[in-house]
């Protein structure tokens, strides 16, 4: 278990960096944070008041200490638009974003990995070229554009998708009692199949739009690392041992190919979390991305800052998870001192 602690400790510098940058973004840059915090309707006196109230008239190091103390107490300030503490707002909306990201990732992985494996077992075949072409084309589509196209085709033209009104059509369904905040999970917990199916139906298009761009890196690296693993000496040994093709593909080649795949997952998460913002905007999804867009446009600075910080922390934690998964796959990493 010691490697878990080591990895955990390894995230500390990243977290410190994240906190420093979010602090600098709001306190040390040109522009007047007090004016942001005061909102568009403020005058000189109210800005001065807010400056004093926020401690912005003190020196940077003192402000930084104050910022850290606030963070430790979970105080991210109050949102101008909702009037609530930013942390409350974010926690309220986070499950929606996590649910969306998870389904998008699941979609990308379920399509991209078999596609990469399939292409790698038939290098330079028509299937291989087809996969590569699909992947390059998918990589050129902006997520938000894909989102809109899917809505147009599947909702407006074909009428098979539900209206893009967010997580649940609340005219027809009541959101399930909040346990995790994820509608699919909560509706299952309360045993409400109809709501479960309805919320799942709402998820399909946004998850596909978000996941589509992640297809390319995963499929590419899967193909490349599978090709390498299939051409490796140990695969040759397995073939010389007369092991069945399925065993060679899965236990020998694929497991070894997984490590490079898990290495690109970090980049994939960076993309998924970032593009969440765009997709939530397109589908009216009430997650933290949509919240942040509203906040940015309204110069609701505490909310933006809280959003950036929360996304960064989430990203650091996801990377940690990926790292630990990699450690489970590869004993060599585990034994590194």
């Amino acid at each position: 278990m010691s490697f878990v602690w080591r990895r955990l400790l390894g995230t500390v510098p990243s977290l410190i960096g994240v906190v420093v940058v979010t602090f600098l973004l709001s306190h040390a840059l040109p522009g007047d944070p007090a004016a942001y915090f005061a909102g568009p309707a403020a005058n000189a006196t109210s800005i001065a008041q807010i400056r004093a109230k926020l401690g912005l008239d003190r020196s940077l190091p003192v402000q930084f200490l104050q910022y850290i103390v606030d963070l430790v107490h979970g105080n991210l300030g109050n949102s101008l638009t909702t009037g609530q503490p930013v942390l409350t707002d974010l926690i309220q909306r986070l499950p929606a974003s996590i649910e969306l990201t998870f389904f998008a990732l699941a979609f990308a992985v379920v399509i991209a990995i078999p596609m990469g494996v399939w292409a790698a077992t038939r290098p330079d075949s028509l299937a291989d070229h087809f996969c590569r072409a699909t992947v390059s084309v998918a990589a050129a589509f902006p997520t938000f554009f894909v989102g809109l196209l899917l809505v147009y085709v599947f909702y407006f033209l074909l009428g098979v998708a539900p209206e893009p009104v967010g997580r649940l059509n609340e005219i027809l369904y009541t959101p399930p009692a909040r346990v995790t905040g994820m509608y699919t999970v909560d509706s299952l917990i309360s045993g409400d199949w109809q709501t479960f199916l309805a919320s799942l139906a709402q998820l399909v298009l946004p998850a596909i739009s978000l996941g589509l761009f992640a297809l390319a890196p995963i499929a590419r690296i899967t193909r490349a690392s599978m090709l390498q693993a299939l051409g490796s000496d140990f695969t040759r040994t397995a073939r010389a041992g007369g092991l069945p093709r399925s065993k060679i593909l899965v236990t020998y080649a694929f497991r070894n190919a997984l490590l490079p795949v898990s290495n690109v997952l970090g980049m994939v998460f960076s993309f998924l979390l970032g593009s969440n913002v765009l997709i939530e905007q397109v589908y009216g999804w009430q997650g933290i991305g949509a919240y942040a867009v509203t906040a940015v446009l309204a110069s609701d600075y505490a909310a933006v800052q809280g959003f950036v910080l929360m996304m960064a922390v989430l990203y650091v934690l996801l990377n940690l998870l990926v790292d630990l998964l990699g450690t489970m796959i590869d004993p060599r990493v585990r034994f590194e001192s």
């Binding site: 490796s232 000496d233 140990f234 040759r236 040994t237 397995a238 073939r239 010389a240 041992g241 007369g242 092991l243 069945p244 065993k247 236990t251 020998y252 497991r255 070894n256 490590l259 796959i329 590869d330 004993p331 060599r332 034994f335």
Partner: protein, 320 residues
Amino acid sequence: MTGQLQIDRLSLVFRTRHGAVRALEDVSLSIERGEILGVVGESGSGKSVLAYAVIGLQDPAAEVLGGRILFGGLDMLAASEQARADVRGRELAMIFQSPRTALNPIRKVGRQIEDILRQHANVSSGELRRHAINALARVRIPDPERRYHAYPFELSGGMCQRVMIAMALACSPFLLIADEPTTGLDVTTQAVIMDLIRDLSRSARMSTLLITHDLGLAGEYCDRIAVMHAGHVVEVASVEKLLDHPAHPYTQQLLGATPTPQSTIEGLTAIPGQLPDLRHDLPACRFSARCARRVAACEERPLPWVSIGPDHLVRCQVPL
């Protein structure tokens, strides 16, 4: 009596973008039961290609033009991939050079042996582990119960090669192909590994095809040696005859270039010239360009097999 392995007039080319490489031409060899046959040649002589063709793992670009490989009763070239896979690991096993990369880096070595046993041996899953540990013990790995749990990166190169041998021999095959099994190992480990291969072959009456560039090594461990040059087998003889009375000029030069305990650096000679480019048109005898004894007949086809004694064959118009 037919041998354990019978290779008849095997010809094989590689189709590449730069033309066909005639890697093997008219290669015939046989191995008797319990015999250790060395195949010796420079790199590029086709000895590894031959080994891979026997086990059916040749490169996808390889194309067999003619000939047969009979293993037991099975025609390896005509058999289905399924039939060949069934033979591999069970009756026919292979070990490779650079053992550390030849083992799956993220699987315990014990499990890798179990994979072979589960596939071929009639062993219940409860017994698998005991059999795997036995296989490790047989190749004289100290503390096999503990090594069962080791990953390849935790073992030395020599230890990895022992694991490879344990895997290869787990199902008591009839024929072991050892492709440069000691390349990359230090000298003492080389001897230990070769002793191990010889002892196990002898005790199990297993045939062994030893592929090596080292004529000295082959001389020490083999019963018979086949010398390959540029895709041809140029001479086959028992070790004593081949070492004492080489009949092919190439064998003689190879011997001159092989260090022995008695030789000095000055006494060693280099073989002049280099392997011909196998993509081009070649004379009947592919060695003729490098040969001092070349005569007009060397251009004549077909290149003859000349018998110059019991069990001593050479492909040369003017043998020594």
